[in-house]
Amino acid sequence: MYIATFLQDPDFIRMLYILAFICFIVGLRLLNHPRTARRGNVVAAVGMGIAVTATLLIESVGDYGLIALGIAVGTGVGVPAARNVKMTAMPQMVALFNGVGGGAVALISWSEYRESLDAGGNPALETLIPILLAAIIGSISFWGSNIAFAKLQELLPGRPIQLPGQQFINIALLAVAVGCAVVIASGTESQGLFIAILVAAAILGNMVVLPIGGADMPVVISLLNAFTGLSAAAAGLALDNVALIVAGMLVGASGSILTMLMAEAMNRSIPNIVAGGFGGVAAAAPAAGDGDRGPVRSTDPADVAIQLAYATKVVVAPGYGMAVAQAQHTVRELADELEKRGVRVDYAIHPVAGRMPGHMNVLLAEADVPYDHLKEMDEINPEFPQTDVALVIGANDVTNPAAREQADSPIYGMPILDVDKATQVIVLKRSMNTGFAGIDNPLFYKENTALLFGDAKESVASVLGEVKEL
């Protein structure tokens, strides 16, 4: 008996929450450094375990059957999803997990509003305003994340989708959501209005993310992540729960900083991304360089093998295409074979190669590529003029010299890998389709560029075969 009252003591629960906060903060801190990152994640997870346990101890918490059901189903869905997702599909998985978080916030705010209506009417403003905020932000985050997922999963085209007068539609939707919220806050008791808020915010979430080009998607996911954090904090204010306030706000703030760091790495500004800047100009861009466009030179595996085998320095620039073809293991075999012949092989990693910052490092690490051969963009770019062969495997936008040369290109100013400065550039490509951003690449038409068409894995394998025969 004594133990039960002690465990349910609100002060004891508050202490457990404090312990959880310490875990979250220390965990995030550890996640800043490669050496300690994995431990940081575990520490944060332990914090979450403590917070959940503490909450289950609270006296007013009941209906354990339903709670167990919810947690069991959630675990049953979440664990296999996280376990089985391919490394290449990681970004959209994160988008999906973010989305369900936002959805949970929206549902919780709706339930709380329903309950206070049942209990006799609108809650006090200090509860009502956070509920309304949580509903708006949570709903935007849920739907926005789902669209981001659909785009990355290629259920929707990665290209920007835009309606005429999009900005006005968005502003109108936001006005509807906020307007309904103000009406409720000024005393109207109406579940219909509350649902209208959720729906308007849902459409807004769709409309905001649809026009954003695929290349900007990582930044958008990070932004939505920060949003979900904020909505969780708002829900915390509504529920008088300090754990939600602290953890939600931690994510809101750290997520915002992270979003800025990511946007910086891509040389894009956040307002620009949200306004769908990529889409607006993309259509006009290809016309720019048409005049000086020569024919494309294609090559064959035997020729590539010779160039590689007799080079002194080869730099591989991998992109999402390599990841999709699962070619990273074959690429490493080819590199091993070349190194046996005294060729130095390095990998040029663009900060956003793949679909997310750091995505390519993960994929190459999976293929046991030695860590010291992975070079970040700033480190490798000065080395391209001394490089004999730059081997571009399934990368497109991140090697597009238009970013450096054509002021009217939508990606102008984005830092790129200067592969075109190598003596010879070999591009492995499936077809002449444009990259994820939907922009033509003048690199393919340069004199020192040759293209090897085909599936990245098969191409690399046949080059490897040819090298072995030499």
């Binding site: 800043n32 309950e115 915390g236 953890a247 992270l258 490092n361 992975l374």
Partner: protein
Amino acid sequence: MDLLTELTILVLAAFVGFEVISKVPNTLHTPLMSATNAIHGIVLLGGLLLIGPAEGFLTELLLVIAIVFGTINVVGGFLVTDRMLEMFRQRKPPPQAEAGESRPELKKAA
């Protein structure tokens, strides 16, 4: 807890959040985003708090879905982050790191 106390906590938590992220190498952007993503799954607690006193089928249904969503967010988020970071551990076998690297192996065995 009164509103002002809560707002004080909110503001201070925001500053901690800003400070805790410093010069993160590009490589870690994705795992860090994924970990913070898992942490906002804490909304799960909201579902736990509300479902006991809740009445009516629809409200309870909404809350069970909220708990399912929150759990997916938490469990999936931390697991996926761990899988990403697991990759980074392997890529560090070079000489000096060996002493430090043997520890995770031990953990695995235990």
